[in-house]
């Protein structure tokens, strides 16, 4: 391990979304809940990325692990979703144009393009119900939070687990 990497947490938890648009802000709420869930230590950094895109590239570049918390897709409102591995690549290939969803995928694409993509990326989120102007979460999303946090905890455990010996 180099001196440089010792200064920076190997794993980033990135909350994305707009807290002024009801369920769009789910990722930011999950971020706060996950951070308080337990003592994660210096190996994990938590960042509220809002709806930023490329400007977050410096935050995600070359991390060993990246956990993105976000409002994910449409489907049944309040459904907890986890996306990683090949599914994420497929999502990138057919990305939608929703303002911040585009940003999150664009960010990952930019990291891939520069060869600084995190070694492993997992996305955990909840399907939104309400995306109009306002602060708070819909009942369905609120009810899904404990399950979403549990999934985020296990995803983060996977990302922070010491690599198994060959």
């Amino acid at each position: 391990m180099t001196v440089g990497s010792a200064e920076r947490a190997p794993v980033l938890v990135l909350g994305l979304g707009n807290t002024l648009l009801w369920d769009d802000g789910t990722g930011i709420r999950l971020l706060a809940m996950l951070e308080q869930e337990r003592e994660w230590g210096a190996g994990v950094e938590f960042l509220d990325g809002g709806t930023q895109g490329l400007a977050l590239l410096g935050a995600v570049e070359s991390r060993a692990g990246l956990l993105v918390l976000d409002a994910v897709g449409s489907g049944v409102g309040g459904a907890v979703k986890r996306v990683d591995g090949d599914d994420l690549a497929a999502l990138r290939a057919q990305r939608s144009t929703t303002a911040h969803e585009g940003n999150a995928l664009e960010l990952l694409e930019a990291a891939v393009l520069l060869g600084v993509a995190p070694k492993r990326t997992i996305v955990v989120g909840v399907s939104p119900v309400r995306l109009t102007t306002g602060i708070g979460l819909s009942d369905a999303v609120e009810a899904a939070l404990p399950e979403a946090v549990a999934q985020a905890v296990s995803a983060l455990m996977e990302l922070t687990a010491p690599p198994s010996l060959p």
Partner: protein, 573 residues
């Protein structure tokens, strides 16, 4: 029968914008409609809140420019309460402002707009040796220009194209006849695209230093929250200031040695675009970068003013606090005004949605009816263009020497007359020219701050009016700035220490505005008239003009209807 093009949503922008354009027999646009397809009302959220907290909510309005909304918000509250911020606060705010401007403009050029001019896929056909020769001519001071370097980039690009992972490059029309650059120039542009991508993440570290965190830096009513102490551990100290200086120097190289030479080189291949896309010819700038406090508007680095009908011999004054000057109309917007009111100043502004359009998904909208979630802001009844071109023209027409210098130099290099500025190319060039000014001003602001610190002035805030008990029962204020995309202003009405009303007119509302009550079109609608379209199914020419404004509808409007997941769609009828 006239052919119609619908581009919905316009890609490579922030937020949702729909353009409907009708073509004449010769394939030129003869009518255009600009529609914000999502509604958002920040005032709904802010009513009843503590005015000192408003900036933190406003920072979330926009997906890109968090800082400019925070700045407009704290200035609005300070204006209402009569607070004068210390000089260091203005200097730090100027540093934040300039960092945002430089970042945003470089990212716009390389990552949003370049794909309208550069055919990425054509770069695969380039000869790396010839690319080296070209790069040494166009960007002689930029170090990465060897044949081997360009070959590596080409191989990398080949891998992406072969794997079908065009990713960031997918929203363009590769192979379109409107692309004019030779393959080598395209390869050079791809390399610079990647270099700018890697660089932009570094520049924003300046926001972290002064704002405590990023992407949502801290602002403060009364000044800035940055603690300045050259020798402290947890303050903006020598070490952090050195980091800021280093980032400014890196930005200098990017702007002077790469961005501007690239911009002029690309422009030289598209001379016809200096007579397309001019539009309204009315330009408005609130001004910014105060040197002696925000009230002294005569000492802004970006001068304030209005130009009407392309008349560069006269710069008129603009006052955002004057009710007769700035008015918003809703004749063609999905909003309702009380008692048959036709237009309102933002202090009296009302945001009551009243959707009367067809049930989505719809085929077309009717320009004789309401057709946008954007209101129509007007200055003394005139539709205005805001943004880099407006700022450069007002600076130029005001006789400011630094503006005249950069404008005359660029026109000389391109052998173009001043009228060439009133165009799509002029808009894109103006963005580069003001970036050059901004990077110099950024270094000056940094040096100013360091000088103040060495003189022992580390004050960054005036909190003497922090307590609501010292406020009047009722007051009004406005806070303006020049966001990267143009004139931005927030208007606040405070009553009993709470927000009674809050309105924002963002730059893209001016530029993307629908027609007003007199049928006068907005800036996009006007700029599109006369644009030739080689292949309407692939409307790259339309996108050139729209992208030249750097549209950002994320702050102007938001989610509407169930169509949020629709993929980019171009319909030709």
């Amino acid at each position: 029968m006239a052919r119609k093009i619908v581009v919905d949503p316009v890609t490579r922008i922030e937020g949702h914008l729909r353009i409907e354009a009708t073509l004449d027999e010769g394939g030129k646009i003869k009518d255009a409609m600009s529609t914000g397809t999502m509604w958002r009302g920040i005032e709904v959220i802010l009513k009843g809140r503590d005015p000192r907290d408003a900036w933190a909510f406003c920072e979330r309005i926009c997906g890109v420019c968090t800082t400019v909304h925070a700045l407009a918000s704290v200035r609005a509250v300070e204006k209402a309460l009569g607070i004068r911020v210390p000089q260091n606060a203005d200097v730090i705010r100027n540093i934040m402002f300039l960092t945002q401007m430089v970042h945003d403009h470089v990212v716009h050029f390389y990552h949003l707009h370049a794909l309208d001019w550069v055919d990425i896929v054509s770069a695969l056909k380039a000869d790396p040796a010839a690319t080296e020769a070209l790069a040494k001519k166009v960007t002689p001071n930029w170090p990465k220009s060897s044949e081997g370097y360009f070959r590596d980039i080409q191989n990398k690009l080949k891998k992406f194209v072969e794997s079908g992972q065009l990713g960031l490059f997918q929203n363009a029309y590769w192979g379109h006849p409107a692309y004019k650059l030779p393959a080598e120039a395209n390869l050079m542009a791809v390399s610079h695209y990647l270099e700018a991508l890697a660089w932009q993440k570094e520049l924003v570290k300046i926001h972290t230093v002064f704002g405590g965190k990023n992407p949502h830096p801290n602002y403060l009513v009364g000044g800035m929250a940055s603690a300045l102490n050259m020798d402290g551990d947890n303050a903006v100290n020598v070490e952090r200031l050195n980091l800021v200086k280093q980032k400014i120097q890196e930005a200098f190289a990017i702007v002077e040695d790469m961005y501007l030479p690239d911009l002029l080189a690309v422009a030289s291949f598209y001379p016809e675009w200096a007579s397309i896309g001019g539009g309204l010819g009315n330009y408005m700038v609130y001004g910014d970068l105060p040197q002696r406090g925000i009230e002294d508007t005569k000492n802004f680095l970006f001068p304030r003013g209005v130009i009407l009908n392309k008349n560069l011999n006269e710069v008129l004054d603009v006052d955002p606090g004057e009710a007769s000057q700035i008015q918003e109309e809703v004749a063609h917007s999905w909003y309702k005004y009380p008692d048959g009111k036709k237009s309102l100043h933002p202090w009296d502004g009302v945001t009551e949605p009243n959707y009367t359009g067809p049930k989505p998904p719809f085929k077309e909208l009717d320009s004789s009816q309401a057709y946008s979630w954007l209101k129509s802001p007007r200055w003394k009844g005139n539709a205005m263009e805001v943004g880099p071109l407006a700022r450069v023209l007002v600076g130029f027409a005001s006789g400011k020497s630094e503006f005249k210098e950069v404008v005359n130099e660029a026109l000389g290099r391109l052998k173009a007359p001043p009228e060439a500025l009133f165009s799509t190319l002029g808009r894109t060039a103006a963005r580069g020219l003001e970036t050059k000014l901004c990077i110099h001003w950024l270094m000056q602001a940094y040096e100013h701050l360091v000088t103040n610190l060495k003189m022992g002035d580390s004050s960054t805030a005036d909190t003497s009016l922090w307590e609501p008990s010292k406020w009047p029962a009722e007051c009004k204020g406005y806070g303006f700035t020049e966001a990267p995309r143009g004139a931005l202003c927030h208007w606040i009405h405070i009553k009993d220490a709470k927000i009674e009303n809050y309105q924002a007119i963002v730059p893209s509302t001016w530029n993307a505005s629908p027609r007003d009550g007199q049928g006068k079109p907005g800036a996009y609608e006007s700029a599109l008239l006369g644009t030739p379209m080689a292949d309407p199914a692939r409307p790259v020419e339309l996108l050139r003009t729209i992208h030249s404004f750097d549209p950002c509808l994320a702050c102007a409007s938001h989610v509407f209807g169930p169509d949020g997941e629709r993929l980019a769609e171009v319909v030709v009828r």
